[in-house]
Subunit: 146 residues, 2 copies
């Protein structure tokens, strides 16, 4: 129930671009990294992945930078988790028992499945716009550092 740093950088980076969309359409990596106090080049890789997956737009050169698109605000947390966590948190048994599944469940299988479903459901139904506050400066403060 703890996600990678990559996930945190991705989420907060995209949210930063999204919340500033009213003010300026294009945001540069340097600004994001500084505002969020996040390692610049590592954030670059993460944002690149977000752009490649169509969650944000990115443009090179003069007046380049990251900007939101039609998909951005409707992107679910589950999408970002999936992209940044790889296949790590798959459906393997939490207790790391052998061949634990519906037909051959470990002793906690049902309880764990129930929690896992609630958890996945929360991530799947929460989209980025659900997380944003109207008050941009206040919101930025809330995502500024870990």
């Amino acid at each position: 129930m703890v996600f990678s740093k990559s996930f945190g950088y991705a989420l907060r980076g995209v949210l930063y671009v999204a919340v500033l969309n009213e003010e300026k359409k294009k945001i540069q990596l340097d600004e994001i990294a500084e505002a969020l106090t996040v390692p610049r080049y590592f954030l670059g890789k993460v944002m690149r992945l977000m752009a490649k997956e169509g969650i944000v737009n990115s443009e090179k050169g003069h007046n380049g930078g990251f900007s939101i698109n039609e998909a951005t605000l409707q992107t679910s947390l589950l999408t970002i988790v999936s992209l940044t966590e790889g296949i790590k948190r798959s459906d393997s048994c939490v207790l790391r028992f052998r061949k634990c599944n519906t037909y051959n469940p470990c002793p906690l299988h049902n309880e764990i499945e129930s929690l896992r479903k609630q958890w996945t459901n929360l991530l799947a139904t929460t989209v980025l716009s659900d997380l944003m506050k109207k008050d941009a400066p206040d919101f930025i403060r809330s995502i500024a550092t870990v």
Copy 2:
């Protein structure tokens, strides 16, 4: 909601010792590692930690090996998680927002806290004896490999 390999090795190693207690009191590392198909020396470190924390007993030399004690079967999953996961999965915000807490909650704070509590409660109230089956061979098969 996925634990480290160390956790899995610790849990399954201790369970193996516990379920064989009827047959023989002392179990050697070699046997555990082979039965569970687990890296021997790494398991050694993990079992050493379990012994140091009093979750199992260990004795050197002739007729040495690991054995259970009064605490073993009453050890909770939360205890083993805490020992093997360090302080990683602490109470920091799952969304990795800044200073997220009761007074300054992130947008998902309450939902996440609720799930986190259910999860912690499950781990805290489940002890090793809850996981074990009467049928030792069958149980060993169920924990034999990941």
